[in-house]
């Protein structure tokens, strides 16, 4: 057997070793390519050959060495892949088990409604007044009632049972007093006053499904030259469509508030209204009170009712939330049952 034959037999043997199942590649490498490996051994025995023979054998030796190296690399890749596959296989999880959810905090549903109202009116260029100095929850009788055109003996005071602290200090029954505080500070040379005042209000009521001694209001007021009832109607339509949807309509009915004249109750359509909707098919829901600010109120706040006109409205976030989501008991908003709160956890709608 020539050395070349030997080398080729070695190559064949190496291929077979590598192909064997579970071959130890390092062992194969050492056995064939190592310093004492089979190829080295053959090549060492070439010293007796002629130059030409040496050259031929050397060439074949290099080819075989390269061939084995390539095969080794290929087999290594195969083995690694198999090993990885086996490892990953072993790591298989039940992907239907629940994920590890970080706890997200939810915003209170009333806050969400108030945020929505706020962002709408910020877009219309209103300022928001909600700090303790300009919108105190504990008010004076003067600001809560008298400045709102409700003198001590006014029959309409019966409409609002009041928590008094002293005869002059009370828990505000409405966010309207914020109007007077804002008007006192407003500089009309810088343009009209457009404001909303969100906040808590209190009434001396027994708590039940539809009454709460504490609830929220968002008062709105615009004072300027030529402010009209048509502006009021347009403004209310825009906020109601923001809250209830673009296809809802509003209607105004006469009402009475001591601080507005004319005064209106505002209904929003429960159903969507299109050109084809028959008037008798619209279900109207009373949602808020509004009106043109009473001249006496403007006068008391130092605004000339001959020069300026104004509209005001009072939005009820609690009522809106009840209507929007079908919440039947207003007390739910203040008990903070997380099973209730967590239902309003969808963002951006």
């Amino acid at each position: 057997m020539t050395l070349i034959d030997e080398l080729q037999a070695i190559a064949k043997q190496a291929e077979a070793d590598l192909a064997a199942k579970g071959a130890d590649l390092e062992q194969v490498r050492v056995a064939y390519l190592g310093k004492k490996g089979k190829i080295t051994t053959v090549l060492k025995s070439m010293k007796d050959l002629s130059i030409d023979e040496k050259k031929a054998v050397g060439q074949v030796g290099n080819q075989v060495r390269q061939q084995i190296q390539d095969s080794l690399a290929a087999m290594k890749a195969v083995q690694e892949k198999a090993a990885m596959d086996a490892k990953l296989q072993a790591e298989t999880l039940d992907v239907t088990l629940p994920g590890t959810k970080p706890k997200l905090g939810n915003r209170h549903v009333l806050q969400q409604i108030m945020d929505e109202i706020e962002s709408h009116f910020l877009g219309l260029g209103y300022q928001v007044i909600d700090d303790p100095i300009d919108s105190p929850e504990v008010e004076t009788d003067e600001y809560n009632f008298e400045r709102e055109n409700l003198p001590k003996d006014h029959p309409a005071r019966d409409m609002q049972d009041t928590f008094y602290v002293t005869p002059e200090i009370l828990l505000r029954t409405q966010t309207s007093p914020v109007q007077s505080r804002a008007l006192e500070k407003h500089d009309f040379s810088k343009g009209p006053l457009k404001m909303i005042a969100p906040g808590k209000v209190y009434r001396r009521d027994t708590d039940d499904a539809t009454h709460s001694h504490q609830f929220h209001q968002v008062e709105g007021l615009v004072v300027g030259k030529n402010i009209t009832m048509a502006d009021l109607k347009g403004t209310l339509l825009s906020i109601m469509q923001e809250l209830f949807g673009k296809k809802h309509q509003i209607r105004l009915r006469p009402s009475y508030f001591p601080f507005t004249e004319p005064s209106v109750e505002v209904d929003v359509s429960w159903n969507e209204v299109t050109e084809d909707t028959k008037p008798e098919d619209i279900r109207w829901i009373e949602v808020l009170g509004a009106g043109m600010t009473h001249p006496n109120v403007l006068k008391m706040d130092g605004v000339d009712p001959e020069e300026y006109s104004a509209f005001a409205f009072g939005l009820g976030p609690d009522r809106f939330a009840m209507l929007k989501y079908g919440v039947e008991d207003i007390r739910q908003f203040y008990l903070n049952d997380v099973r209730f709160l967590d239902q309003f956890n969808k963002r951006g709608n």
Binding site: G105, H108, V222, A230, Y256, M292, S309, D337
Partner: protein, 818 residues
């Protein structure tokens, strides 16, 4: 007010369409142009099959001692009916509910069908009924239910076969208006007539009034005296020889439809004219009066208003207006009459009173005595001062006619000073300017005319005369409302405020308040909104400032809501208890809101925004995978969240200090820290004292409360950006063994202070106590990060700095470097 449209139609020309649909349409129109409605319909509602019958014979029931067998005639046939009515008798005209009739069950209110029945062996084809059995409330039915069935009188002008519901007036269309406080004018048929006439463009035709010829005061039997501050006018007339039996059916039915109980002719007419005109009228039996000198005055000390069988009501001296005959109290003026002088069926001499009592006195009297009558209500809202004497004359004339009595000479009165007619000037331009419309003079004039308001118009300038009935019209804006509502608010254009634009910005403070909520939510806390009113104990339980007085209600509604909170944590703990009681035991709640610190009597309290958070149970929403790892909230969970909050809201973290604190009674003395920003107190964080939670069965609750005002004031510094260094960092770990009593903070501060120029960051990462350590010692481990922002840091420099620092630790704190 319950308005009978059939009655009202007598005063309208050409008159309303009273078909069912037309009434519904009218109701809708009233709501859109006038006032809200409580209800629309008839007292009969869905009842049917009721007929007037004549009782032809009554024989005893053979098997019953309380029932009788009657034969009744319905105009066509004779029907056998068995009844237990105690008052049935031959010849009576009564109401039969036929077989198949539907009537409202008196107790359940359900509609029931009358069936043929066997009563102890005798067949009954229907049922003879009392008015209470066909929809009339006990409070308005003229006869007690126990007295038996309704019996018509001869004057009632009914005959067998008549539709009983119709002849009783129960089919008259009724609308019940829910009045706003200003529309006092709609508390009468007359006012409603004007209102509906304006709405439907009709003419009002009120009955002709007779002015009595005798207006002399000199020879009056009764004298009256009083103060015009108590009554701007007060007048009485006297009737004699009255025969005061029951009123005719037409009068009774109008009264019970309107919610009044028919009594006798005099009382009924007084009520009828109250309904018709809105002028309250009171009647007294002259023979029961102590003297003939009547006086309108304030009650005196110790005076009482007798209330029949009930205990007499103590009057408030110098506060309640009374009508008195000497010492005898005839009435609490305009509100309630002394039963001892009331007009009854036996009365023959009557005093009829028409007053104009001071509404503010009456309002307070009605409120204090919790007595509100149809009269007092009208006085409070405001009556038409121009018609009082006219109404008195008219009702006296009607009473005389109906009772076949006589008006005794003379009118006794005081007050009634001349009032000039009120006028209001307004222009077309002003109306259009406020409404945002472009109404013509013709349109506006037509509206005033429909409202029966006399106008004087020239070039769009109006002078409008206000009749006495419209006490609500006092300023131009009131007339703008009248035009607006009758023109129709639906017809108003819609616009958005035009003109100079204004920026819709939040203030820096408002932005922080909003950011604060967002951060708390990012940290996993649900927002809670709790009640601000609570008990005195809870109001102060977790105060930051222990020395401020609470704000308490003068007249609370219940004992759990008497005092305004000075902290938010109490409310959050109420929420926690509520949830835990419902088996929700993993909670992260926060609240942001006002607390209230009293500043003295009759001064508004100081209001400050606070923030509080509470953690209970597992801190992760889903934690099955962590298995044995402890996920239950502890002190460091709440503290870590507070630290993250304070950093993110923009406080200088290096200035925030936590100091062990045992000063909070409601907090765990060993697991609570006071939090300072520099030297400013911010609040506290820690475990709620287990005793506070004793009845909630909670394992532990961790919470904080801070003063948001301080946060807002100290978090406005702009972001100070620094480029991220491109040079590598070198880290060293440090473990030090120190006395247990030493705060970690002291070690940390010492490391920071002595770390050298390149020490960028120190992170505490381990606390070890116990096995392998000497008693009374603990091991604290830190990772220190060094970096030179302008060059690559040399290892030896770090080593030098590190060693210098450890030497100081050993020297200053007796720390052993491990």
């Amino acid at each position: 007010m319950k308005t009978n449209l059939k009655w009202l139609n007598e005063y309208l020309q050409p008159g309303l369409d009273l078909s069912e649909q037309a009434v519904l349409d009218l109701a809708q129109q009233i709501e859109l142009t006038s006032v809200e409605l409580e209800s629309v319909g008839t007292a009969a509602a869905k009842q049917s099959g009721l007929v007037v019958v004549r009782v032809d014979s009554v024989v005893p029931h053979p098997d019953s001692d309380h029932m009788v067998i009657t034969q009744v005639f319905d105009g066509k046939e004779t029907i056998q009916v068995v009844t237990g009515a105690p008052n049935v008798a031959e010849g009576q005209l009564v109401v039969l509910a036929r077989v198949g009739a539907q009537i409202v069950d008196r107790e359940s209110g359900d509609l029931v069908t009358i069936k043929e029945a066997q009563l102890r062996g005798e067949i009954s084809y229907g049922m003879l009924v009392a008015l209470q059995e066909i929809g009339l409330a006990d409070s308005v039915a003229p006869q007690d239910f126990e007295e038996g069935i309704h019996v018509f009188t001869e004057e009632d002008d009914v005959k067998p076969g008549d539709d009983a519901l119709a002849v009783l007036g129960l089919k008259d269309p009724m609308i019940d208006t829910d009045l706003t406080p200003n529309r006092a004018d709609l508390l009468s048929m007359r006012g409603m007539a004007y209102e509906l006439a304006a709405m439907t463009d009709q003419k009002v035709m009120l009955p002709q009034t007779t002015v009595l010829s005798d207006q002399s005061e000199s020879n009056a039997v009764v004298t009256v005296a009083g103060n015009e501050d108590l009554a701007t006018g007060y007048a009485v007339r006297v009737l004699g020889q009255v025969k005061n039996d029951s009123s005719p059916l037409w009068l009774q039915s109008r009264l019970w439809n309107a919610g009044f109980k028919p009594e006798n002719k005099i009382v009924d007419l007084a009520n009828y004219w109250l309904l018709l005109t809105g002028q309250p009228l009171h009647v007294y039996d002259l023979d029961k009066l102590a003297t003939m000198q009547l006086e309108v005055r304030l009650a005196k000390e110790g005076e009482k208003l007798p209330q029949g069988e009930e205990e007499a009501m103590a009057l408030r001296a110098d506060q309640d207006i009374v009508v008195a005959a000497g010492d005898q109290i005839l009435s609490l003026a305009g509100i309630a009459t002394n039963p001892a002088v009331a007009v009854t069926a036996d009365t023959t001499k009557v005093i009829v009173e028409a007053g104009q009592f001071n509404p503010s006195f009456l309002r307070q009297s009605a409120r204090r005595h919790t007595l509100r009558s149809e009269s007092s209500f009208r006085f409070e809202r405001g009556i038409d001062l121009d018609q009082t004497l006219e109404v008195l004359d008219q009702v006296a004339a009607e009473m005389a006619m109906l009772t076949k009595g006589k008006i005794v000479v003379g009118l006794s009165k005081f007050g009634f000073a001349y009032r000039a007619p009120e006028t209001i000037a307004i222009s077309r331009d002003r109306i259009n300017q406020i409404l945002g419309t472009d109404l013509s003079v013709a349109t506006i004039s037509a509206i005033f005319t429909r409202l029966a308001l006399p106008i004087d118009e020239k070039d769009g300038q109006y002078l409008v005369t206000i009749p006495g009935r419209r006490t609500d019209l006092t300023i131009p804006a009131d007339l703008i409302e009248e035009v607006g509502r009758l023109y129709g608010y639906d017809n108003l254009p819609t616009a958005l405020v035009e003109g100079q634009s204004t920026p819709g910005d939040l203030t820096p403070r408002q932005k922080k308040i909003r950011a604060s909520r967002e951060i708390m939510e990012s940290l996993g806390f649900d927002q809670a909104i709790s009640y601000a009113l609570t008990t005195p104990e809870k109001a102060t339980a977790f105060n930051l400032d222990q020395n401020r007085n609470v704000v308490a209600l003068d007249y609370p509604m219940s004992s759990d809501r008497t005092t305004i909170r000075q902290n938010l944590l109490s409310g959050l703990l109420d929420d926690v208890s509520y949830n835990v009681a419902r088996s929700v035991k993993d909670l992260a709640l926060y609240e942001q809101g006002r607390i209230f610190l009293a500043q003295g009597e009759n001064v508004q309290p100081e209001e400050r925004e606070h923030l509080a958070g509470v953690l209970v149970g597992n801190v992760a929403e889903s934690s099955w995978q962590t298995g044995e790892k402890d996920e239950v909230a502890d002190f460091y969970d709440i503290k870590g969240r507070l630290e993250a909050y304070l950093q993110t809201i923009g406080l200088d973290s290096s200035a925030v200090r936590f100091e062990q604190s045992a000063q909070h009674e409601a907090m765990h003395p060993g697991q609570t820290a006071d939090v300072y920003l520099g030297s400013t107190y911010l609040g506290f964080v820690g475990q709620i004292h287990p005793a506070v939670l004793a009845n909630t069965k909670l394992p532990a609750a961790f919470a904080f409360e801070i003063d948001l005002e301080v946060v807002i004031d100290h978090s406005q510094a702009p972001v100070a950006y620094q480029p991220v260094s491109k040079y590598p960092q070198i880290s060293r770990d440090l473990a030090v063994l120190v006395d247990d009593s030493l705060d970690q903070q002291q070690v940390f501060d010492m490391i920071k202070a002595n770390g050298g120029d390149y020490l960028q960051n120190v992170t505490f990462f381990d606390l070890y106590t116990g096995r392998g350590l000497p008693a009374g010692k603990k091991s604290l481990a830190y990772q220190l990060t060094y970096q030179d922002k302008t060059d690559t840091l040399v290892e030896s420099v770090v080593t030098d700095a590190f060693e210098k620092m450890t030497t100081t630790l050993t020297a200053e704190l007796g720390a052993e470097i491990r």
